[in-house]
Symmetry: C2
Subunit: 399 residues, 2 copies
């Protein structure tokens, strides 16, 4: 008895998970809103498809949902807590405690599921590739999960998961491609919507247009599509447009390309610095993301644009985020297709745009690699062997 994929289900999910998550702040920043409302220089467009054209002049006011301040440092706890709480409703807590839950992930979802399971004294099995960074393994172990190692291909991972399910009866909680997960992730947009409206109601300076008291659009990063599709479901019927943002590096913009060609892209091989977005869409998330009535558009940005947006968020907002988190902001600041669309649709009034900062799980070493003057790290990346975060190139297959 899966929940229908609509706003009401996201509202119900929110009630279920509220006691377990932080109400993360929504922040505004005058410098960044001004920058978004300033046309890019002609120089900035050199070497891009928009070279020689007049830069767009959109009017944009930004509202940032800071999920980097969320528990475990990312929005992923929303989906994980929702999935676990639904499981308890469906199977009774004793049964869930006897069988446990299992997932294959080396990222934020692993820690999120481990935390949610620990909260209800449920055993969690996490299948991680042996090449996972030690800090990720330690972080997940710290949440009390049982770590199982596997090879790095999806077949190898799935084999280990199957074996665990066979031995324990554990329920698979996938990282994004499941209704309960995406409904949980959609709760961030619910909060963003009402927090932004509240900010606008109390500070008239934030909204130039008289009487305009809400968001016009929300943009989120898109990897496996859990956050984006959940946001689209949550905002459907509100009049708030939903957009997705991806890195373009080495074909990481599988959602945009898939929608363009009308067919889901099932495999992605990329080492984009936005390492949370290296995964292709899943079957469930594809249905929502590729539906133009749900997600109004997909945009992609270059690695340098992600870095530039990240620098602004760190240095100007004093807010510690991971590269994946700022792909939406990079789109708003640097993607001329997006900016022209806003200029055309929003006109003189401009738009109030909500941006979801998805997480802040990076390290000072990773930042050093991103922003230090050219070193061997760069050379290795040019060869396409090792990612900025030291990860080896592995096929990312929709899960």
């Amino acid at each position: 008895m899966p929940l229908p994929l609509n706003r009401d289900s996201v509202l119900q999910a929110h009630e279920l998970i509220k006691p377990h998550i932080h109400l993360t702040p929504v922040q505004t920043n005058t410098t960044l809103s001004n920058l978004a409302s300033t046309p890019q220089s002609h120089d900035a467009l050199k070497g891009t498809p928009w070279e020689g054209q007049d830069p767009a002049k959109p009017k944009i006011r930004l509202f940032f949902k800071c999920e980097n301040f969320q528990r475990i440092g990312a929005f992923k706890v929303r989906g994980a807590f929702h999935a676990v709480k639904r499981l308890i409703e469906e199977q009774e807590i004793e049964e869930v405690r006897r069988k446990g839950v299992v997932t294959h992930s080396s990222g934020n979802h692993a820690q999120a599921l481990a935390l949610a399971a620990k909260t209800f004294s449920i055993p969690a099995h996490i299948v991680m590739p042996t090449i996972s960074t030690p800090s990720k393994i330690a972080g997940t172990q710290a949440q009390g999960a049982n770590i199982h190692f596997s090879g790095s291909t999806s077949q190898e991972r799935e084999a280990v998961v199957k074996e665990i399910v066979k031995q324990t009866g554990a329920t698979l909680v996938p990282p994004y491609d499941h209704p309960n997960i995406l409904l949980g992730q959609g709760t961030a947009a619910l909060e963003l919507q009402s927090q932004a409206a509240e900010l606008m109601a109390t500070d008239k300076g934030l909204s130039v247009a008289e009487g305009k008291q809400g968001l016009d659009a929300v943009i989120t990063p898109c990897g496996g599509g859990g956050l984006l599709s959940g946001t689209a479901v949550a905002m459907f019927g509100t009049g708030i447009r939903v957009f997705g943002a991806e890195p373009s590096f080495q074909g990481a913009d599988d959602a945009r390309r898939g929608v363009e060609s009308g067919k889901r892209i099932e495999t992605v091989k990329t080492l984009t610095i936005a390492d949370g977005l290296r995964t292709p869409l899943g079957e469930v998330t594809w249905k929502i993301v590729s539906d133009n009535g749900m997600v109004r558009g997909l945009y992609s940005v270059a690695e340098e644009q992600i870095k530039s947006a990240m620098r602004l968020v760190l240095e100007r907002m004093k807010c510690f985020v991971e590269p994946s988190a700022v792909v939406g902001l990079a789109t708003v600041l640097y993607n001329e297709d997006f900016r022209r669309m806003v200029e055309k649709e929003a006109g003189e009034e401009g738009w109030n745009i909500g941006i979801v900062f998805s997480g802040g799980n990076t390290t000072v070493e990773a930042i050093s690699k991103l922003f230090a003057p050219a070193t061997e790290a760069k050379a290795e990346r040019a060869e396409g062997v090792v990612g900025q975060d030291g990860s080896k190139m592995a096929e990312n297959v929709a899960g």
Copy 2:
């Protein structure tokens, strides 16, 4: 008619500057409070004066006053706005506008004074050494100030200031050694005190001791001593103990050493990574900081300890701070003298300690230099020629 240096004057300063500053948040963090309440390992004490001894076991709950989110990214606007508003009260606004204000500083105070002056349409003259980093020059120019260049010794700077005063009649607003400046800086502690009490009243989990509803101590960084002495004045008579924290590198702990020897140290030559704390105490701040009834103790920490605290604040709190900002936290986490004192004085009940994060004006490049694997930068530093931020060694004389 200077104001008396007491809490009431800080309260008056607060009323004056409130419309011009942000009420920055006070944050708590379970991980960091737990870490502060965990004894250091015997290994961590190796090579320190406490090697082989039993590590202290203090109980500590931390409250962070995030002045990195303040306007211009640092507490310095508090003193600057206070000084400028007092000047307007004393001289009439037309006279101040005709004459202007002047200071010698290449750091946060320059931008703070430029902003305060701009707010009231007062011309600001900022004397900067020609070796200042371009970003600092640009940041100050962006606030509309007139930049004047000088040599990097204090004599050269003062000569340029004198010339400006002679030509324009501008009033000197020093960076820290002035009653109005330190009374302004003290307002951060006023806010911290009431915000922390409010947090404790609404979340019982934050304070282990029943009925304990306030801070026991505040610790701030100490460079020129404006923030520390202002905090001491603001907290005097409240029962809240005030402590100061300094880097120990190359004698940057001039306040601690001065108090120990009973004589103010007037010159400091250090390239500590906490570049906001390279200055010695001034005459006014020395009187307060060296008064044991005002400042209960001074502690110093090593460069690696500052880096380690900075990593925790960035990666765990997701809060973007500059190295100078975390010297207080480094003391609480790593200085065994401080930790033993807390264990002894606070006993089983423990202390609620307020920590002022003084600012967040650093760059991703500076972080890269701090945390990247060993490179030439390190070799240069070892030679003592160039600071982590690229600054050349120059004498810092109390101003």
